[in-house]
C-alpha cells in the first residue's frame, strides 16, 4: 500500500511539474526568439500570440493525436525539459530521482542532439562536434568532483564547498556549450523540410517546428543549468523561481554570444574546454 501511495504522489508530482513547465514554455520561446529581434528593432508579435499558437498545437494533439515518430520525439523533448527544469512541489524526494539520477549532462544533451539529428540530418557534423564537447564536459565534471551524480550532485557539492574548482569548470563548460548551436534554427529547418519534401502537409511542418522549439529550449536550459547549478536543487515555489533564473542566465549567455558574433569563432570553444580541463585538473591535484 505505501508503494501505491508513493506511486500516486509521484504521478501527481510529475503532472504538476508538466503543467508548470507547459505554462512557461511559450514565455521561454518568446524570450529566445522575439526579444532579441525586438532589441534589434524589428516588429514582433505580442506574447499572447505565442500562447495562442501553443494552445492550438496542444489542442490539435489532444484531439487528433500525433504521428508515431513525431510523438516519440515530442515525448523525448518534454522529458528532457522536465529533467532539466528540476522542479519539485509535493515530493522533494522526487528531485533525487529526476535531478540526480536523470540529469546527467551527457544523457540529456544526447537526447537533445538526437532530436536535432532527427529534424535535420545534414547537421550531422555539427551534432558530432557538440557531442564531443558534452563528453569532455562530463569527464571534466567528474574529474573535478569524483562520484558526482547529475546536476543535483554538482549543486550539493557547490553548497558544501563554495568557490571550488567545480564552479569554474561548470562555468567554462557552460560558455563553451552556449557557443554551439546543435539544434537548427527556424529558417534552416524550413529550408531543410522544403528540400526533402517531408513532411508533406503544412500542419505537420508546423508541428515539427513546435517540437524543435522545445529542443532549442532544452539546449538553453542545459547551458543555464551548467552555468548556475547553485539554483538547481530548490524546493516548492522557489524551484520555479530557480528554474526561471537558470533559464534567463542561459538565454542571456546565448543571446550575448549570438549578438557579439563570438559564437562564429570555433576556437573559443576549444579554448574554453581547455580552460575547463585545466581547472578540473588543478582542483583534483590541489586536494
Amino acid at each position: 500500500m505505501p508503494y501505491f501511495i508513493d506511486g500516486v504522489r509521484l504521478g501527481l508530482e510529475l503532472v504538476c511539474q508538466s503543467v508548470a513547465l507547459l505554462a512557461v514554455v511559450p514565455l521561454m520561446v518568446w524570450v529566445m526568439e522575439d526579444v532579441p529581434a525586438f532589441l534589434v528593432g524589428r516588429a514582433v508579435a505580442p506574447l499572447g500570440s505565442r500562447y495562442r499558437r501553443f494552445g492550438h498545437f496542444g489542442r490539435e494533439i489532444l484531439r487528433y493525436g500525433i504521428d508515431v515518430e513525431s510523438g516519440l520525439m515530442l515525448t523525448l523533448a518534454l522529458l528532457a525539459l522536465l529533467i532539466l527544469a528540476g522542479m519539485s512541489f509535493i515530493m522533494p524526494s522526487c528531485l533525487g530521482l529526476v535531478g540526480a539520477w536523470l540529469a546527467d549532462p551527457l544523457l540529456v544533451g544526447s537526447l537533445i542532439l538526437t532530436g536535432a539529428l532527427w529534424a535535420a540530418p545534414s547537421y550531422f557534423g555539427q551534432v558530432v562536434r557538440c557531442w564531443f564537447v558534452l563528453c569532455l564536459m562530463e569527464s571534466f565534471l567528474v574529474l573535478a568532483a569524483p562520484g558526482v551524480t547529475g546536476f543535483l550532485g554538482v549543486h550539493h557539492l557547490l553548497i558544501a564547498a563554495p568557490g571550488s574548482s567545480l564552479a569554474g569548470t561548470a562555468l567554462c563548460c557552460a560558455v563553451a556549450l552556449a557557443f554551439l548551436t546543435p539544434v537548427p534554427r527556424r529558417e534552416v529547418l524550413a529550408a531543410e523540410m522544403i528540400e526533402q519534401a517531408w513532411p508533406p502537409s503544412r500542419a505537420e511542418r508546423d508541428q515539427k517546428q513546435r517540437i524543435l522549439e522545445l529542443y532549442r529550449l532544452g539546449w538553453v536550459l542545459l547551458v543555464g543549468d551548467s552555468l548556475l547549478p547553485v539554483l538547481f536543487g530548490l524546493e516548492g515555489l522557489g524551484s520555479v523561481a530557480g528554474f526561471i533564473g537558470r533559464f534567463m542566465g542561459g538565454a542571456a549567455l546565448i543571446i550575448i554570444g549570438r549578438a557579439t558574433g563570438l559564437s562564429r569563432y570555433r576556437h573559443f570553444v576549444a579554448l574554453l574546454l581547455g580552460l575547463a580541463g585545466l581547472m578540473a585538473l588543478a582542483g583534483r591535484f590541489a586536494v
Binding site: 516519440l72 522529458l79 557531442w131 564531443f132 562530463e138 567528474v142 574529474l143 569524483p146
Partner: protein, 432 residues
C-alpha cells in the same frame, strides 16, 4: 572446467544464442531430412562445425595448445582461407600456445581481430571471432591488463595502416572490434586497482555490447540497438564505459589523466560504431509493426537484464532488483534509464495511440543516410602535420650532420656503435 567461471558461461550462452539464430545452421538442420541446395547446405554444415569447434575451444580454455588448434579450425570453418592465413596464423597460434597469458596472447588477438575485420566473413563468423578472442584472452588480460589494452590499440592501428588505402569504412568498422577489448581491459584494470563497482559495470557494458552484436548478427534490424542515441542500449554501453574509466581516474592515484583519455576514447568508439550502424540501418528493408515492438522491448529491457546477470552470476549479495530501475556508472553515478523508458512508453502511448493502428512502418533511415554521405574523412591536416614533421626531421638531420662533421666522427658506423655502447651501458645501469 569453464562452468565455474561466470564470464565464460555468459560467452557460451551467447554462442548458443548465435547457434540457434544462425540462418545457415537452420538450413543445414532442415537439409538433414528435406532437400535443400547443396551449396547452402554445405555452408550451413561448415557453420555448424565451426560452432562446435568454438564451443570446444571455450571448453578447453585451460589447455592453451588445444584451444589454439580449435580456434584455427573454427576460423577456417567460418571464413575459409581469407580468415585464417596459415603463413602468419600458425606462428601466432604457436606463440599463444607457448605463453597464453604473456606476449603470446597478442598473437591470438591479432588472429581474431583479422578474422573479425574481414568483410568476407559472415556477421555470425565475425561475432564468433570476437567471442573467442574475449573468452580465450581473458586470462591474458587478467595477468597483464595494460599489455592487453595497449596491444589491442596497437594491433587495430596496424590493421588500419594496412587497410586504410583500400576502404574508408574500415576505420569505422574497427571501432566495433576495439570497443569490447577496451571494456575488457578497463574491467581488468579496475580489478587490479580494487574498484569492485567498476569491475561490475565494465562487465555489464561488455556483456551488453557483445549481446547487441550477437542479436544484430542474427536479426539485421537489431543493428539499430547499437546506435548511441540516449535511451538505446548503444548509449548505455558508451556511458557505462565512460564512467568506468572516469571512476578509475577518480578513484586511483596514477590514473587521473589517462582515465579521462580512456573515457573519451570509449565514447568516441561508440560514436564511430554508431555511424556504421546508421549506415547499415539505412539499407534494411522496412519491417512490420510487431518487429518494431519487439525491438523496443529488447531495447528497454536488455541493459537491465545484462546487469542482473552480471550480478547474479558471481553470486554477489547485493540489491539485484535495483537493476530494474537504475543503472550504475562505475564511479558512483547512476542513471534511471529503465524508469525513463517507462515514462516514455506511457507518454508516447498517450500522445499517439490513435495512430499506432494505421502506422505504416516506413523506416526513414535513408534520410539519415543523406547526412552520412558526407565526404570521406580527409586526412589533410594529418598529412600536413606529417610533411611538416618530415621537414623538421630534415632540418634536425642536417644540423646534426653539420654538428657531427665538426667532430672527428665522420664515420656513421662509429656513431652507431657509440650509441649502441651507450644503450648497453644504460641497460646495465637500469638492471642493477
Amino acid at each position: 572446467m569453464p562452468f565455474h567461471d561466470p564470464f565464460l558461461l555468459c560467452l557460451l550462452a551467447l554462442l548458443a544464442l548465435l547457434l540457434c539464430g544462425d540462418g545457415a545452421v537452420r538450413v543445414f538442420v532442415r537439409g538433414l531430412w528435406r532437400s535443400v541446395p547443396v551449396v547452402t547446405w554445405r555452408q550451413g554444415g561448415c557453420h555448424m562445425a565451426g560452432f562446435l569447434m568454438a564451443f570446444a575451444a571455450l571448453g578447453v580454455v585451460g589447455h592453451a595448445g588445444a584451444a589454439a588448434c580449435l580456434v584455427a579450425l573454427a576460423l577456417l570453418f567460418f571464413g575459409g582461407g581469407a580468415a585464417f592465413r596459415p603463413i602468419w596464423g600458425v606462428p601466432a597460434l604457436l606463440g599463444y600456445g607457448l605463453s597464453p597469458t604473456g606476449l603470446g596472447g597478442l598473437g591470438l588477438m591479432a588472429l581474431c581481430l583479422w578474422a573479425a575485420g574481414q568483410a568476407q566473413m559472415s556477421r555470425v563468423g565475425q561475432v564468433v571471432a570476437i567471442v573467442l578472442l574475449i573468452g580465450l584472452g581473458h586470462g591474458g588480460a587478467l595477468a597483464h591488463p595494460l599489455l592487453w589494452l595497449g596491444g589491442s590499440v596497437a594491433l587495430v592501428a596496424i590493421g588500419l595502416l594496412v587497410e586504410l588505402g583500400r576502404d574508408w569504412e574500415v576505420l569505422l568498422r574497427s571501432c566495433r572490434l576495439l570497443r569490447p577489448l577496451m571494456l575488457l581491459g578497463l574491467m581488468e584494470i579496475s580489478r587490479q586497482q580494487g574498484l569492485s563497482i567498476g569491475v561490475e559495470t565494465a562487465f555489464c557494458a561488455l556483456l551488453l555490447d557483445v549481446t547487441c552484436q550477437t542479436i544484430a548478427a542474427i536479426w539485421p534490424f537489431a543493428v539499430c540497438l547499437s546506435i548511441p542515441a540516449p535511451p538505446l542500449p548503444g548509449f548505455v554501453v558508451g556511458w557505462m564505459g565512460l564512467h568506468t574509466a572516469l571512476g578509475l581516474s577518480g578513484g586511483t592515484e596514477g590514473w587521473a589523466v589517462i582515465g579521462c583519455i580512456l573515457a573519451i576514447m570509449v565514447m568516441g568508439l561508440s560514436l564511430g560504431d554508431g555511424m556504421v550502424s546508421l549506415r547499415e540501418a539505412a539499407s534494411i528493408q522496412p519491417c512490420k509493426r510487431v518487429e518494431w515492438g519487439i525491438g523496443l522491448i529488447i531495447a528497454a529491457l536488455l541493459p537491465s537484464l545484462c546487469g542482473f546477470v552480471t550480478q547474479w552470476m558471481p553470486g554477489a549479495a547485493g540489491h539485484r532488483g535495483a537493476w530494474f530501475y537504475r543503472l550504475p556508472g562505475g564511479d558512483g553515478s547512476m542513471i534511471a534509464l529503465p524508469l525513463f523508458w517507462l515514462v516514455v512508453f506511457v507518454v508516447w502511448w498517450g500522445l499517439s495511440r490513435g495512430h499506432v493502428k494505421t502506422w505504416q512502418s516506413r523506416i526513414r533511415m535513408d534520410v539519415l543516410a543523406v547526412g552520412m554521405q558526407a565526404p570521406p574523412l580527409r586526412l589533410w591536416p594529418i598529412k600536413r602535420l606529417v610533411v611538416r614533421g618530415q621537414q623538421h626531421i630534415g632540418v634536425v638531420q642536417s644540423s646534426g650532420r653539420a654538428l657531427l662533421s665538426s667532430l672527428p666522427l665522420r664515420d656513421s658506423s662509429a656513431v652507431f656503435w657509440l650509441v649502441f655502447l651507450g644503450g648497453v651501458l644504460v641497460m646495465l645501469g637500469l638492471a642493477q
